[in-house]
Symmetry: C2
Subunit: 439 residues, 2 copies
């Protein structure tokens, strides 16, 4: 979580910043959210944070990793500590193709670009495709970090409805028609088909072909973001959109959830011509991804039982998902509804009408539980009755305690609502983005 | 060096790319250079590459580093492998302030942003400040990677003359006036004051205040890029521009040349309000820099004699500089002139009139010596009589052999010129950018 200072700096900055007249137009929209200050409080140990998307790293075999990484420095240090290729090492790109094969993808290592986390992949794809004013379609709700990147390139997000089977094809058709009717250009559909962040739902297999066909018909690229695909709780996987349609899909992958996010190793798989542009864009962004972290991942994949580790993670997250859903069922007040994730990190909770999840966050943090308000996951003003709960990091016991506290907060809010007909809060203003994922 | 495939893919891409109509306007300028293919050849062991800017990592104590990094994973793995702050760890930012103090900078860790190499710092600064069409002033010649970044944001570079004492103040005044007369906006001056890449010259101490005053008078920010400042061959340092003027300078630093580039750890030191924007920009670009590589650098700085290591590097590079200059003096044909670097990695060579360094590169590579043609370091069409020679990586013996081969190439070209009045070459077209630094 970012520490952006304790004062409401975006306001102070507005009036005192001597550089104010110098910024680019895109920078005007970059303002820190007031809820960041709350998340700084939420990181205190006494708070049960259901806000963050931090993987449960205690499941990693640190001692054998330590030995491996030490050996890496001793034997391959001269290359692992040196500049490398902007596209990433051949060895890792080959291994990445093996990882993607688990979800049905056939790919050539030459079409893979290693990035500094999948977030950089998203940034590069947006850089290559989006002019200011271009439209990006995204699920409603969508990943907060993606919304931030689209905004940084002054692209405009149009949300497309989801249900329990993921993106709704008819809603996609309507969104495409509506944008076209406005004379605007859709550059791509951004979608997280598996165990979506934040909604926790998965695009049904039947809909996958349909979504791809609609996009092909409308000459719209598909950007498939798939960090959670191998974390299905029953070991199930779904055919990647890229496996169905190789020429019109740009695929984003990551080792952050299947291994470790602190290495920041992700990748993009793209049609060849697009891949060339991405490499040039990446080169101007970071010269090359760290050779060292790539070498660590390569060694991990070749020396460790990485599939066994994914199974370990999966079981840990299933236990936490179970604890979360059971606690919600038992404790949340009537009128609450939520999704039932079959994998991944997140549950999407809708609270009774009249409540506002962003407005009540300070009260929740005071009562030592944190979540991310739903508004963070919309580029428009929706989501005020929703919140994202992450069960990936806390123990099941802490999760139960967190849900108990959350239930108490909700009960308190409902009591106010029923007594006074309204819930009075100091309104929070400012942009709605917490630190993505790491919040 | 990037492997962008063996076929002239930017040409194939032009005609066959089905995504051609989808790219952003900024992407049109992203084309791979034909000289990349040459650099792929130049990386063969039989070629003496005076092209790359790769540090001489054999000087590192790999065994003790290995032990340290292993211990890091075993004892701090849970944080070093986890998501971190978008701004970078507090520990590393404090250490960075100690490093900067060596060049007279007084700074607070809160104003430091850790980046994925200094290249990402450059990308973030350009993102925050530059709208398409904005002007960036840069030395003539300037760092190829910076030119690539400015181009990616559609900023326009106006070069300012340098001499042996660095940027010429009067030329800076004229450039500012000329841009203003055209009704365009200069967003910042980009300068590498110490042991400049590619020219190898250093801005004199007397000129530093003058340059800062001119920029302040014209309300132009200064972006100071200082990767080589601690690599002065006599152990000398110069006062950083940031140490003279804290409020109008954004400073870029890097561990790539003083420790190891494969970790990709750099930083930006910026006035507080700018720092806030940079953190938000960085978050949308990569979420956070790798916690792991930051932890490796922090441990290195706290456990190793890092100042002693810089001295070791400095001595290795001084020996190579000496070998380079001596060989050039003895072997290059009359009419060649070159700079005399007092630190850093590079010599800037001007060849006799009538020769074209880009056109003759294929012949040089055939004769097993590589360099970077001068045109790579200009945003306009200058530099055809110049080349950058890097002495950082090859041994002194290899350097002597490389310069001997280069001298033979130049003699051959001059002979053709004198015999036929012209040097006939297959002209190289395409963008002029090799892979920056790693080429």
């Amino acid at each position: 979580m970012s520490d952006t200072g304790s004062q409401p700096a975006h306001q102070a900055g507005r009036s005192l910043d001597p550089h104010l007249g110098r910024y680019a137009a895109r920078t005007a929209g970059m303002t820190a959210s007031e809820i960041r200050a709350l998340f700084a409080v939420a990181s205190r140990p006494e708070v049960v944070s259901l806000a963050g998307g931090m993987p449960y790293l205690s499941a990693l075999p640190l001692d054998s990793l330590a030995a491996d990484v030490g050996q890496l420095v001793a034997t391959e240090g001269l290359t692992a500590l040196q500049y490398g290729s902007a596209q990433g090492t051949v060895e890792l790109r080959e291994q990445i193709c093996e990882v993607m094969a688990l979800e049905g993808i056939t790919a050539h290592p030459d079409d893979v670009v290693v990035t500094v986390g999948s977030q950089m992949g998203l940034d590069m794809v947006t850089r290559v495709f989006c002019d200011p004013g271009d439209v990006v379609l995204a699920e409603a709700p969508s990943y907060v970090g993606a919304l931030g990147t689209f905004s940084a390139y002054q692209a405009q997000v149009v949300h497309v409805e989801m249900d329990d089977a993921g993106l709704v094809p008819e809603a996609l058709r309507q969104a495409l028609a509506a944008v076209r009717a406005q004379g605007r250009r859709v550059k791509f559909l951004y979608t997280i088909p598996n165990f979506q962040n934040p909604a926790g739902v998965t695009l049904s297999v039947q809909r996958r072909s349909e979504i791809l066909e609609i996009c092909a018909q409308h000459d719209v690229l598909v950007v498939e973001d798939n960090p959670y695909g191998l974390l299905g709780f029953d070991g199930q996987t779904y055919p990647a959109l890229r496996s169905v349609e190789p020429t019109n899909v740009v695929y984003l992958g990551s080792f952050s959830k299947t291994f470790a996010p602190g290495l920041r190793v992700g990748w993009v798989l793209a049609p060849h011509a697009v891949r060339e542009k991405l490499v040039l864009a990446a080169e101007s962004a970071t010269l090359c991804p760290p050779a060292f972290t790539q070498a660590v991942v390569s060694r991990y994949l070749s020396q460790h039982d990485w599939k066994g580790q994914i199974k370990t993670y999966r079981e840990a997250y299933r236990e936490r998902r179970d604890a979360t859903l059971a606690a919600m069922e038992q404790q949340l007040p009537a009128g609450c509804t939520w999704t039932k994730p079959q994998g991944g990190f997140y549950v999407w909770l809708t609270v009774p009408e009249g409540l506002d999840t962003k407005a009540m966050l300070p009260r929740a943090v005071t009562q030592r539980v944190a979540y991310v308000p739903g508004t963070a996951f919309y580029a428009d003003s929706f989501g005020s009755r929703q919140m994202r709960l992450s069960y990936c990091y806390p123990t099941p016991e802490r999760i139960r305690e967190g849900v108990r506290r959350l239930a108490a907060v909700l009960e308190g809010e409902l009591e106010l609502l029923h007594t006074f007909g309204t819930v009075s809060h100091r309104r929070l203003s400012g942009a709605q983005t917490p630190t993505p994922d790491t919040a």
